[in-house]
């Protein structure tokens, strides 16, 4: 089911809404062996870049490669942690400041595997997925997002 061999899509056009996140949480009420969920949400910040405020990020990806890589990460995480399920969503296109662009959701019987897996997946996504973010500035210029370690 959750740890199957199918390559899944993770990309969502535009921001990930809080309603969507709430629905995904509700979907797990039927999984009666889950004891803990760990969720990470990445939100777009109004950083100052070259003295101008970031108003949003336009995400692009080498989608085919990203989905294959994500599949590989997923397989590795399921091999390493005893998870009930895991879901990953990443935005493409424009996400405005204050909106959510990354949603990682791991669940397990006891809490530790969900918490550790969620954290590791976030780190791997940021390091290993071919995704780029064009930070749009208040004067309509742009800079390219750089990830911190």
């Amino acid at each position: 089911m959750s740890s199957d061999h199918r390559v899944r899509n993770i990309f969502i056009q535009g921001a990930i809404s809080s309603g969507f996140i709430g629905e995904k949480i509700a979907d797990h009420a039927a999984k009666k062996n889950i004891g803990g969920h760990s969720i990470f949400l990445g939100q777009v910040r109004a950083d100052l870049k070259e003295d101008k405020e970031v108003t949003g990020i336009e995400y692009t990806s080498y989608e085919e490669m990203a989905l294959e890589k994500m599949h590989e990460i997923r397989q590795a995480i399921f091999a390493k942690y005893e998870l009930t399920c895991m879901h990953v969503y990443h935005s493409l296109g424009l996400v405005s400041v204050g909106e959510i662009s990354l949603f990682v959701f791991a669940s397990s019987v006891h809490r530790a595997p969900a918490i550790e897996a969620c954290r590791e997946v976030v780190e791997r996504i940021k390091k290993e997925l071919p995704v780029w973010g064009k930070e749009l500035l208040s004067d309509h210029s742009h800079v390219w997002k750089e990830n911190r370690n």
Binding site: H90, V131, W132, K134, W144
Partner: protein
């Protein structure tokens, strides 16, 4: 000898100066020859950090090309 046709994909900040996301090239025998050509066409590539992917796999050495290969220039990732 039949012609080798490959695609080259550009992403992220590299597209700021390539202005296109994709070009098609004919008769380049290996990735080094492609890179040499691209650096002539887009001099800013010489100062840009990127990794090279051949058919979605990162490569670190010069690699022979055959038709339908896809070469991608990937600047540092910035997902999340």
């Amino acid at each position: 000898m039949s012609s080798i046709k490959i695609s080259v994909l550009f992403f992220g900040q590299i597209t700021d100066y390539t202005l296109v996301n994709r070009i098609e090239l004919n008769d380049f025998k290996d990735t080094d020859t492609v890179l040499h050509y691209l650096k002539t066409m887009f001099p800013r590539l010489k100062e840009s950090p990127y990794q090279l992917a051949l058919d979605k796999e990162i490569i670190h050495e010069n690699t022979l090309l055959t038709s339908h290969h896809t070469v991608a220039l990937l600047p540092p990732y910035a997902g999340g």
